[in-house]
């Protein structure tokens, strides 16, 4: 098994005359949580759509879990789509099905011979694994709040016990408490299930909290990949402004405050901790 879960080489995406990506390279290691950041319109979602095969790139090569996207499945190879889970921005739950039935859709698709009783059981524990109450299983998406819908979407993404999880702005539109809870959940699942997580986000707190590495998308390619301290040392103006701006600083400060508390030290600035 290769060391990398995702390898992207020389990716180019064009819409008419407009190139979104040009010569984009990115390697995602197995078992890490990688955050992808970039200004609006830099093609973060297009990048994710290219990786999961919803968007055919104009040029370049994408390899996910050892399988090259866009090529037919090899002999004896499991369908690559059963080895990843995707959480779309709005949850993208099927509105005519209940939460549990949503989770069962991929199970039915890939393992049609499974006993219905076992399928229901799996759906139920996936729902509670994502922190939803048991009663949520029988609810329709329209009866759930935004945060619960994201959790339900996550339960569906985890239905097949994927090795790789794609999250598109998982904390967007959640209140800070809900967002922090979702971050914890992602972290816990990552640790328990040994997932590789590809996370698109604008949330600086999420980046500081849970990401092992961060990839920065700008100028049509990935301009830097690294831990946040490594990125902050960079002198690229956009990166500098992103992490060094007022929001970036306060996210960093709250992180440092927490770290200090964990070590039994006084917070450097109690007012802001």
């Amino acid at each position: 098994m290769s060391e990398f879960a995702i390898r992207i080489e020389g990716l180019e995406n064009r819409f008419g005359d407009h190139a979104v990506h040009q010569d984009l390279n990115l390697d995602v290691r197995r078992g890490e949580i990688i955050g992808v950041v970039g200004g609006s319109g830099t093609g973060k979602s297009v990048l994710m759509r290219s990786i999961i095969g919803l968007q055919t790139p104009s040029h370049g090569r994408i390899e996910v879990l050892g399988h090259e996207i866009g090529t037919p499945r090899g002999e004896g190879e499991a369908d690559i789509r059963s080895r990843w889970g995707v959480l779309f921005q709005g949850g993208a739950l099927f509105s005519t099905l209940t939460v549990a039935e949503n989770v069962e859709v991929p199970l039915k698709e890939f393992y049609p011979d499974m006993d219905p009783e076992l399928r229901h059981e799996i759906a139920r524990y996936k729902v509670s694994l994502t922190g939803l109450p048991d009663s949520a299983a029988a609810k329709y998406p329209s009866e759930l709040s935004g945060g619960m819908r994201k959790r339900a979407g996550l339960a569906r993404a985890l239905a097949l016990d994927p090795e790789l999880l794609f999250l598109d702005e998982p904390t967007a539109g959640l209140d800070p408490i809900g967002a922090a809870a979702f971050d914890n959940l992602t972290r816990e699942l990552h640790e328990t299930l040994g997932l590789t997580v590809f996370l698109i986000t604008h949330d600086l707190d999420t980046l500081h909290e849970i990401c092992d590495r961060v990839a920065v998308l700008a100028d049509k390619r990935v301009i830097a990949v690294g831990t946040i301290p490594e990125l902050m040392a960079s002198d690229h103006p956009w990166i500098h402004e992103y992490f060094g701006g007022p929001r970036g600083r306060s996210a960093l400060m709250s992180r440092e405050g927490e770290a200090a508390k964990e070590h039994g030290l006084d917070s450097p600035n109690p007012a802001k901790a």
Partner: protein, 370 residues
């Protein structure tokens, strides 16, 4: 082929029965194992999973459930298996996965009841909508400067001018069919000259305006419902209200006025084109020259038929536009609702138009406008 998981039931000297699992226990292999175990229903007091290679949460769940149901002890769990089992056992696991459904008979009665309540409330709210429309109309009559001329002209174009081609084509063909079919029947009595009366009177009195109303319901009524419904979903209507713009005045009134103004014109246009269609087919198949047909129309069609058509036009326009706008304003919740309401707008508008047309037919006969 999916990797397999095998099980072995053994009883040792102390009479202790152990179910040993070996192989790969993941989502791909839990199905067959579960099937086999459900068939055999083994009794055991210990569950040995030392032989398991790869395990995921589905496998961990199955192990835990087997142990729970048999009251058995799990032995030989690897560190990862233990972690996964403790992660999945938190859920009790008998919550229903779909909301409970009542028996069919109860559901039937319930649905009928809900439809009746919906009809009752719906007629109330459509009356309220009509009232709001009238009051908005009163407002713009008292303050003519508040009429949205741009919107009105735009809607007039969409409802009227843009429909000319399709309404024309439809009417021409309807005229052809009436004249041709009518002629076939009338020929049996040697009365094919009455084809002119038939085509002229039925087009002006009934079919021109009725077919046009159906076409406008499909073209514009549906568009009104979908546009206003989408604006409702994206909170544009709420934004208007908070700014102090009345959606009644800004959205509904221009559409209704455009439809009321355009329907009689489109109906008349439709009737005229239908007569042209009838004249054309008569020239080819009945040997009535084209211009003779038109001249004869003037003699045999009373002016009253024109008025009947023109009176019905605005009423049909009002019904179609109001149903469209009303259904659009009722949209709430999800985008699914927009499609539902749009369908309802078209169906209800066509239904209402045909019912009102029947009333008109009886009414005009009774008052002697034959």
């Amino acid at each position: 082929m999916a990797p397999d998981c095998e099980f072995l039931l053994a009883t040792d000297a102390d009479g202790r029965s152990t179910l040993a699992l070996s192989g790969v226990l993941t989502i791909a292999s839990v199905g067959p194992l579960d099937h086999a175990l459900r068939r055999e229903k083994p009794q055991f007091s210990h569950l040995d999973i030392t032989g398991l290679g790869e395990v995921d949460t589905a496998g961990a769940w199955l192990v835990w459930r087997l142990a729970r149901d048999a009251g058995a002890q799990v032995t030989g769990a690897s560190e990862k298996a233990e972690r996964l089992i403790s992660a999945v056992k938190c859920c009790s696991g008998d919550a229903p996965i779909a909301p409970p459904r009542a028996p069919p008979l109860v559901r039937f009665v319930e649905t009928v009841g809900l439809v009746m309540i919906g009809l009752w409330r719906g007629s109330g709210s459509i009356l309220a909508f009509l009232g709001a429309l009238v009051s908005a109309l009163g407002m713009v009559i008292r303050h003519p400067s508040r009429i949205r001329w741009t919107a009105l002209v735009r809607q007039t174009e969409l409802v009227g001018v843009d429909a000319l081609a399709i309404v024309g084509l439809m009417s021409f063909l309807v005229g052809v069919v009436i004249a041709q079919q009518g002629a076939v029947q009338l020929q049996q009595f040697g009365a094919e000259i009455y084809t002119v009366n038939l085509t002229g009177r039925i087009s002006l009195r009934e079919l021109g305006v009725l077919m046009t109303a159906i076409m406008v319901a499909g073209r514009s009524g549906s568009a009104f419902a979908a546009q206003i419904g989408t604006m409702k979903l994206t909170e544009e209507i709420d934004a208007m209200r908070t700014i102090g713009v009345s959606p009644m005045e800004a959205l509904v009134l221009p559409r209704v006025m455009a439809a009321v103004l355009m329907m009689p014109l489109l109906g008349l246009y439709s009737a005229l084109i239908a007569i042209l269609g009838g004249a054309t087919i008569s020239a080819f198949t009945l040997g009535i020259p084209f211009f003779n047909f038109l001249a004869r129309i003037q003699e045999v069609v009373p002016l009253i038929d024109l008025w009947v058509g023109l009176i019905k036009g605005p009423v049909f326009g009002l019904i179609v536009a109001m149903t469209g706008c009303y259904q659009g304003m009722q949209v709430k919740g999800s985008s699914e609702e927009v499609g539902l309401r749009t369908t309802q707008a078209v169906v209800q508008a066509i239904f209402a138009v045909i019912v009102i047309d029947a009333f008109f037919a009886v009414f005009f006969s009774e008052v002697g406008w034959m």
